[in-house]
C-alpha cells in the first residue's frame, strides 16, 4: 500500500472510529495472557492455541457446549467392524479460499498430521490406513480397536490439500523450523471466522466467514485479539472497557472485577488436576538426607504425606475458595468420582505412619514446583511445605519458572526430582490418557511411551494390564468398571496425592454473553454482544 493511500486510510479509519464508536458494539475485543504464535494447526499441541485456531479451522468432529463430541465436517460416522471407522463427510462445505472440502482433504490432513514435524502425531494412529471410498466417504482402518479414536479430533483441524500444495505447505511447520512457512502466517480453514490480519504477538483480527455451513450463533462482525501478558494491565483493560473478554483473571482480582459496574467473572471448575508426586523409582532419592534407601518406596510414608496435606485449607487460604479438592487424578467431568472419597486429612495418623516406617524424626527432601504455570502454584507448594513440616518432613522448596522447572523434572531432563507438584489435563478428555501417561510403568519395553509423564515413577504391572484393557474395551459400562478398578489400585498404593481442580476465571464485560467450557477453551463463536 502506498504511503498516501495508507495515510488516507488511517485518517479515514480514525474519523470513522470517532464518528461511529458507540455503534461498534459487535466488535469483540479479547485479550489472553498468551499469544497466538503460529497459524499452522499442527505446530503446537496446546489448548489456548487450539482454541484460537478453532475459530478458523474445524475438525471432522467438534465439541458441543457440554463438551460432548458432535458432528462437524463429518456429518455422521459408523463402526462397521471394531477396526474400521467410516465417516460420511458434509457436502457443500468450502474452505475460505473457495476450494470445496472433499475426502482428499481428509486423507491429506491425516498424512500431514502424522508427518515429521507435527506436534499432533497421536491424533491419528501411526499404523492406521486412511482410505477414500468416494468424494464424501472416508474409511479409517486401524490395526487394533480404539473406542476413543475421535476423542482428540475436535482439535485435529482439516486442511485444504490444494492450498497446501500450491503454497509449499504440504509438510507441517515443525517446532524447530528454520525458515518461516506460509501455513504459519496464513490460514485456510472452513470455520466460522477468517483471519483478516495477523501480527504475531501483537494483534490478530478475525472477521466472520459469510459462507459458513452452520448458522452462526454469534452476532459479531469482528474479533480483535491482543495478547496482554501483564495481569494488572489485562484486568485494567477489562475494567476500563477497552477489551470485552480476558483470560485468565488473577485469583486476587476476581472480587474486584465482580464488584465493578461493567464486568464480571465467569468461574467454573477446570479439567486440570493438580497433584503431588513422590519419586518411588530410585533406590536413593536425589535430593534428600536419607542415604542408601528411598523413604517414598515405603507405602506408609506415601500415605503419611497424603494424609498430612490438608486440601481444604489450601482451598480456603491459598485458592480463596476457587478450587475443587479431588480424590482422583482426573476431574469429575472426565470420570465421575462419586464412588471415591478422598482419604481424610489426619496429621496425627500421618506422624504415626512415619514412625512405623522408621522415620519418627522425619527427614529432609527438596520439592520442585513451578511458579508461573498454575493458579497460585508456588503458594500451594509453600502451604504444603508447612503441612509436611508438622509431621517432621523438612521440605526445601525449589520454586522456579516453568521453563526451568520442566527442563529439570520431565523425561528429557531425566526426571530429576524427589517431590514435585504437577498439573495435567488429559487432552482426550478421557481417563485412559492419565492411566497411560502419568501412572503407567516407565521403561515398558513393549510401549516406550507408557509413563512418559510419570515423574514419580509409580509402577504396578496389574494396573498397567487394566490400562491396556481400557484402551481396547468398546463397551462403555465395562470400560468404566475397568477404569474404576485401576483407580482403586492406585489409591491403595498411595501412588500420587491429587490436590484439586483449579477454577477457570474469565473476565467478561456485562455486554457479552459467553459459554464457558471446562476445558478452558475460549470459543467466541458462541459469544453475543449486546448493542449499545
Amino acid at each position: 500500500m502506498s504511503v498516501g493511500r495508507s495515510l488516507y486510510a488511517a485518517t479515514l479509519a480514525g474519523v470513522l472510529a470517532l464518528a461511529v464508536s458507540p455503534a461498534s458494539s459487535q466488535t469483540l475485543r479479547y485479550a489472553n495472557q498468551g499469544e497466538l504464535k503460529s497459524l499452522d494447526p499442527y505446530t503446537l499441541n496446546e489448548s489456548t492455541t487450539s482454541a484460537h485456531l478453532g475459530h478458523v479451522y474445524e475438525g471432522l468432529v467438534a465439541r458441543g457446549k457440554d463438551l460432548k463430541i458432535i458432528p462437524a465436517l463429518a456429518e455422521s460416522w459408523e463402526i462397521p467392524e471394531p477396526t474400521r471407522w467410516r465417516f460420511h463427510l458434509r457436502k457443500g462445505v468450502k474452505f475460505h479460499n473457495g476450494d470445496p472440502f472433499t475426502a482428499d482433504d481428509v486423507v491429506f490432513s491425516a498424512e500431514r498430521v502424522r508427518a515429521k514435524g507435527s506436534n499432533f502425531l497421536s491424533r491419528v494412529p501411526a499404523d492406521a490406513k486412511v482410505v477414500k471410498i468416494d468424494d464424501y466417504t472416508v474409511d479409517f482402518i486401524l490395526t487394533s480397536p480404539n473406542p476413543i479414536l475421535t476423542a482428540l479430533w475436535a482439535t485435529w483441524y482439516i486442511m485444504d490439500k490444494k492450498w497446501a500444495e500450491a503454497n509449499d505447505a504440504v509438510a507441517p511447520t515443525p517446532a524447530a523450523a528454520t525458515t518461516p512457512s506460509y501455513a504459519s502466517l496464513h490460514e485456510n480453514g472452513t470455520g466460522p471466522f477468517v483471519i483478516e490480519s495477523h501480527q504475531p504477538g501483537v494483534k490478530t483480527v478475525f472477521k466472520p466467514n459469510p459462507d459458513w455451513w452452520r448458522k452462526p450463533e454469534h452476532n459479531l462482525k469482528e474479533i480483535i485479539f491482543t495478547p496482554i501478558a501483564n495481569p494488572a494491565t489485562r484486568v485494567a483493560a477489562l475494567l476500563s472497557g477497552e477489551v470485552d473478554v480476558i483470560e485468565p483473571v488473577p485469583v486476587q482480582d476476581i472480587e474486584r472485577v465482580k464488584a465493578s459496574p461493567n464486568a464480571t467473572v465467569l468461574t467454573g471448575p477446570e479439567l486440570r488436576t493438580l497433584f503431588v508426586g513422590m519419586d518411588q523409582a530410585r533406590d536413593e532419592l536425589l535430593y534428600s538426607n536419607v542415604k542408601g534407601k528411598n523413604p517414598f518406596k515405603d507405602v506408609r510414608v506415601r500415605e503419611a504425606v497424603y494424609r498430612a496435606i490438608d486440601v481444604d485449607l489450601i482451598k480456603n487460604r491459598v485458592m480463596r475458595g476457587l478450587s475443587t479438592p479431588s480424590a482422583l487424578m482426573v476431574a469429575p467431568e472426565i470420570f465421575p468420582s462419586k464412588d471415591f472419597a478422598r482419604p481424610k486429612f489426619d496429621a496425627d495418623a500421618a506422624k504415626k505412619l512415619l514412625a512405623d516406617a522408621g522415620y519418627a524424626d522425619g527427614f529432609e527432601v527438596t520439592m520442585d514446583c513451578p511458579n508461573d504455570r498454575y493458579v497460585n502454584d508456588a503458594a500451594i507448594c509453600q502451604a504444603i511445605v508447612g503441612m509436611l513440616a508438622r509431621i517432621n518432613i523438612k521440605v526445601d522448596l525449589l520454586a522456579q519458572p516453568k521453563a526451568q522447572y520442566f527442563a529439570k523434572v520431565l523425561k528429557p531432563g531425566g526426571y530429576k526430582t524427589s517431590l514435585f507438584m504437577l498439573g495435567w489435563t488429559p487432552d482426550t478428555l478421557d481417563s485412559q490418557n492419565v492411566l497411560h501417561d502419568i501412572m503407567g510403568c516407565r521403561d515398558d519395553p513393549k510401549d516406550p511411551n507408557r509413563g512418559e509423564a510419570n515423574l514419580a515413577g509409580y509402577c504396578n504391572k496389574q494396573f498397567d494390564k487394566l490400562a491396556d484393557k481400557v484402551l481396547v474395551e468398546s463397551d462403555a459400562t465395562k470400560r468404566d468398571q475397568l477404569i474404576k478398578q485401576a483407580f482403586e489400585i492406585s489409591m491403595k498404593d498411595w501412588a500420587y496425592v491429587p490436590l484439586h481442580q483449579q477454577a477457570l476465571a474469565w473476565g467478561v464485560s456485562k455486554k457479552v454473553k459467553l459459554t464457558q467450557g471446562a476445558d478452558n477453551m475460549v470459543r467466541l463463536y458462541w459469544a453475543t454482544k449486546q448493542e449499545e
Binding site: 500500500m1 504511503v3 495508507s6 495515510l7 488511517a10 485518517t11 479509519a13 480514525g14 472510529a17 470517532l18 485479550a31 499469544e35 504464535k37 503460529s38 503446537l44 499441541n45 515429521k116 506436534n119 502425531l121 497421536s122 515443525p174 517446532a175 524447530a176 523450523a177 528454520t178 525458515t179 518461516p180 512457512s181 504459519s184 502466517l185 504475531p200 504477538g201 494483534k203 491482543t226 495478547p227 496482554i228 501478558a229 501483564n230 494488572a232 494491565t233 485494567a236 483493560a237 476500563s240 472497557g241 477497552e242 516453568k402 521453563a403 526451568q404 522447572y405 520442566f406 527442563a407 523425561k411 528429557p412 531432563g413 495435567w424 487432552d427 516406550p448 511411551n449 512418559e452 509423564a453
Partner: protein, 326 residues
C-alpha cells in the same frame, strides 16, 4: 586522532564479544527451549528430534562457535516461538520502541529543564518544593508501579487514556508510527511519561545544581554589573552554559531509555522490542534473546564511542592526556 578512534573502536568490539560470551553462558541456565515449543504430552522421541535439529545436543564449544560466528554476521536465525526470522521481528518492533524512547526523552528534557530552571531561580517558592517532591517520587518509585498506578487512575477510574497497546498506527514504508492518529497519540502519553520520569528527575536535578553553580560564577556577576536584564542573564548566559552537561547526560541516557523500555513495555503491553525480549526470556527463545542483547550492547557501545570522540574534538586537553598516557 585516528589512532585514538581506532583504539576506542577495538575496545568497543571487545565489549561486544564480552557481552556475547556472557549472554551465551546465561542461555544455558534459561531452561529447555523445547519444552516451550511443544505441547505437554509430546513424546520423548519427538522432543529429542527437535533438540537435535536445533543443534542443542552439540558440544558446548561447537554451539558457542556457531553462535559467535552467526552473531558476527548479524545472522540471528529464526525465533523458536514465532518461526519467523529474528531480524524481521526486531525490525517490525523497532519503530514502537524508538518512538516511545524518543518521545520519552523529549518529555524528560523539556519538563526536566523547565522544572530545573524554575527551582534554581525560585528556590524557596512552594512550586519548587513540589518539583523537588515529584523528583523524589520519580527517582524512588519503581517504573512498573508508576505505570500501574497511572493505568488505574487515567484508564480505569477516569477513562481518559487507553491502558495498553499503541492505538492505531500508520505504515510508512517499513516504519509504523502512532504519531499521526489520535488514538496513537493518546496511547503514547502514559508509557512515555512512565519511561521518561526517571530521566526527567535526573535532568531536573542536574539543571538545578548546574544553574545554581553557574549563577554564582564571576561572569554572571559581571553580566549583572553591566546591567543586562535578568531574563538575558538567566536564559542567554546561565542556562546555555548549563545545557552542555545536560545534553551529554541525556545522550548517554538514551541507550538506557531503550534498554529500560522493557519494563514500561511489559506494563503497557507496548508492542516493542522490550516486550518481545521479555516474552523471549519466558519462553527460552534464545535467538531473540541473543539478538536483542547484542543490539542493545551495540547501541550502548556506539553512543559511548561517539561521545568519546566528540569529547576529544571539543576538548583538546583530553586528547593530549590520552596520547601522553600511552
Amino acid at each position: 586522532m585516528l589512532a585514538f578512534t581506532l583504539r576506542r573502536a577495538i575496545q568497543a568490539i571487545g565489549v561486544m564479544i564480552a557481552v556475547g560470551i556472557i549472554a551465551f553462558s546465561m542461555f544455558r541456565f534459561a531452561g529447555d527451549p523445547v519444552n516451550q515449543m511443544v505441547g505437554m504430552d509430546t513424546s520423548g522421541a519427538e522432543r529429542a528430534a527437535i533438540r537435535k535439529s536445533l543443534g542443542l545436543d552439540d558440544p558446548v564449544l561447537v554451539q558457542f562457535g556457531r553462535y559467535i560466528g552467526n552473531a558476527a554476521q548479524f545472522k540471528f536465525g529464526v525465533s523458536y516461538q514465532f518461526r519467523l526470522p529474528v531480524t524481521n521481528l526486531l525490525i517490525e518492533r523497532m519503530p514502537a520502541t524508538l518512538e516511545l524512547a524518543i518521545v520519552a526523552t523529549i518529555f524528560a528534557m523539556l519538563s526536566g529543564i523547565l522544572m530545573g530552571v524554575y527551582s534554581a531561580l525560585r528556590r524557596d517558592s512552594w512550586l519548587a518544593h513540589v518539583f523537588q517532591a515529584v523528583s523524589l517520587i520519580g527517582i524512588s518509585l519503581p517504573t512498573f508501579l508508576i505505570g500501574v498506578l497511572m493505568i488505574y487512575l487515567f484508564s480505569v477510574t477516569l477513562g481518559w487514556l487507553p491502558s495498553f497497546g499503541r492505538g492505531d498506527v500508520v505504515q510508512i514504508g517499513w516504519w509504523t508510527t502512532g504519531l499521526l492518529t489520535l488514538s496513537g497519540l493518546k496511547a503514547l502519553i502514559m508509557p512515555s511519561i512512565t519511561l521518561g520520569l526517571f530521566q526527567m528527575t535526573l535532568i531536573m536535578r542536574l539543571v538545578r545544581a548546574e544553574m545554581l553553580e553557574v549563577l554564582r560564577t564571576d561572569y554572571i556577576r559581571f553580566a549583572r554589573a553591566r546591567g543586562l536584564t535578568t531574563r538575558a542573564i538567566h536564559f542567554g548566559h546561565a542556562l546555555r552554559n548549563t545545557l552542555v552537561p545536560v545534553i551529554t547526560v541525556a545522550g548517554l541516557q538514551f541507550g538506557s531509555v531503550i534498554a529500560f523500555a522493557i519494563i514500561t513495555e511489559t506494563v503497557f503491553q507496548w508492542p516493542g522490542m522490550g516486550l518481545l525480549f521479555v516474552q523471549a526470556v519466558q519462553n527460552v527463545d534464545i535467538p531473540i534473546m541473543a539478538a536483542y542483547l547484542m543490539m542493545v550492547s551495540l547501541i550502548f557501545v556506539t553512543i559511548n564511542l561517539v561521545v568519546d570522540i566528540l569529547y576529544t574534538i571539543v576538548d583538546p586537553r583530553l586528547r593530549s592526556t590520552v596520547s601522553r598516557a600511552h
